[in-house]
């Protein structure tokens, strides 16, 4: 799926797709992110694990500035997205985001959930937007549900439409904020299947999730967060079999038990 990497240039060294550098975030006096450094190279799938409250969702939400970082920088393909005068809406259309609770627009059917930003942000014509929406919905296996409203879809289907809504904009990176946490267990698989397909298409992804098996099988790197810090950053095999930090071991023992 070459159109997903619309900014692809042949040769040359490209900056990493996403780079967080010295990121801090405080809510009032509570420091939820401290000195976060994280790099996501192009085509990589990076998994973020950690207990609730460890700051992983906040970190993810900083990446498209749904949360405003208190300090530090975030680079998208080398561009500092926290710089003064940056056009945030232009940045955001290059960063797809998938939410825990789907957040589909309930008053629009699946197709128009996907086409809205294509029409209003990319200013595509109706036909072109419909075409792109159909192809995005097809990608998540829901082309036949295009005229269904969110309320008529299962949770898994809603999340797949939400993924279609994000990939239709052909982002350079996708952020997943616990995409399967709100789903019934039997619906988790279909969403993971779609994410696996995106991974096969070399979509760059930063994923906050508790799906350990999927992380182990599909991730290029796994990051473990505790108390607002990244304490471990390793390839999955190493992460799950011989983590270097005690807190990672405790976390893994607890979850695999």
């Amino acid at each position: 799926m070459s159109e997903m990497n619309a900014t692809d240039r042949v040769g040359g060294t490209k900056p990493p797709t996403l780079q967080l550098s010295g990121l801090h975030k405080s809510f009032g006096t509570v420091e939820v992110l401290r000195e976060i450094d994280l790099t996501v190279e192009r085509g990589q799938m990076v998994f973020v694990l950690g207990r609730s409250g460890s700051g992983k969702s906040t970190m993810l939400r900083c990446c498209n500035r749904l949360e405003e970082p208190s300090a530090g920088s975030i680079f998208l393909e080398g561009q500092d997205i926290c710089a003064r005068g940056v056009d945030l809406d232009k940045i955001r259309r290059r960063i797809g985001m998938v939410f825990q609770s789907f957040n589909l627009y309930p008053h629009l059917d699946a197709r128009r959930n996907v086409t809205l930003a294509l029409r209003k942000v990319l200013k595509l014509g109706r036909d072109e937007a419909d075409e792109r929406a159909t192809s995005a919905l097809d990608r998540v296996g829901l082309a036949n549900r295009a005229d269904h409203y969110p309320g008529q879809l299962s949770g898994g289907q809603q999340q797949r439409v939400a993924i279609a809504r994000a990939i239709a904009l052909q982002p350079v990176v996708m952020l997943f904020d616990e995409p399967t946490s709100a789903l019934d267990p039997e619906l988790v698989g279909e969403v993971i299947a779609v994410m696996r397909e995106l991974k096969d298409l070399h979509m760059t992804m930063l994923v906050v999730s508790h799906e350990m098996a999927f992380a182990r099988e599909a991730a290029d790197r796994v990051v473990f967060m505790a108390d607002g810090r990244i304490v471990e950053d390793a390839p999955p095999e190493q992460f799950f079999t011989q983590p270097s930090e005690e807190s990672t071991r405790a976390f893994l023992a607890r979850y695999s038990a």
């Binding site: 008053h107 930003a117 209003k120 942000v121």
Partner: protein
């Protein structure tokens, strides 16, 4: 004369009804025209104010809140009398029709603003975040994502309020707007008979009952499809 005959003589007097029917029907048109104008203008203005308030520009929001609170607290009749009898003294002379239109429109706008604002704040934060994360701007998100949901949520209170305020067109009779009630009270005092008032009541029901029913259908029409 039996009690029934006396009642019929007072409220169902065919002769009186026949004589004043044309003028009262003329009042129907005035009431309908005013009602439509008030509903359209009031709801548009109120919705626009609620949207402006969403931008959270402090001085502007304050003005909107003050406007909404004042117009929701004051009895419209007071404003209608001030507008019609008071304003000419400071050089503003408006027709009775115009005064009634302006005051009731502002009153409906004040309530609409509060109702739609409630809908906007009740729309989940995730809807804003989803739209903004696709690169849509604040105004685009408000117009295409939040407002359609907000309005759907508040259709029941909104239609209730619209009907309640439209019925207040009857207040126009105190400043001489030739609406249904005015024509009926005129006929009543000329004839010394209450039949025109019963006719007026019947006409109000005839006018507003379909509106009440239509609002139910509107509520059903805009329910989420599940």
């Amino acid at each position: 004369m039996s009690a029934w005959d006396r009642f019929a003589e007072t409220f169902l007097n065919g002769e009186v009804l026949a004589r004043y029917l044309p003028s009262i029907l003329g009042g129907v048109w005035v009431t309908v025209e005013l009602s439509l104008l008030i509903v359209v203008a009031g709801i548009l203005l109120g919705t626009a104010l609620a949207c402006l308030r969403a931008y959270r520009i402090a001085p502007l929001s304050l003005l909107i809140v003050v406007f909404a609170d004042v117009f929701r607290s004051l009895p419209p009749l007071v404003l209608i009398l001030m507008g019609y009898f008071g304003l000419p003294n400071v050089g503003f002379t408006l027709s009775a029709f115009a005064v009634l239109f302006v005051i009731l429109t502002l009153t409906l706008a004040a309530f609409t603003e509060e109702i739609v604002w409630a809908g906007i704040t009740a729309t989940p934060k995730g809807q804003w975040e989803a739209a903004r994360s696709t690169g849509m701007g604040f105004s685009q998100t408000l117009v295409w994502v939040v407002l359609p949901q907000a309005v759907r949520m508040v259709i029941p209170p909104l239609t209730n309020r619209a009907i309640a305020i439209t019925k207040m067109t009857a207040l126009g009779s105190v400043i001489g707007v030739p609406d249904i009630l005015n024509q009926a009270t005129t006929a009543q005092s000329f004839s010394g008979n209450a039949s025109p008032l019963l006719l007026a009541s019947a006409l109000y029901v005839l006018l507003f009952l379909p509106l009440v029913i239509a609002s139910r259908r509107l509520e059903a029409r805009f329910a989420w499809r599940t």
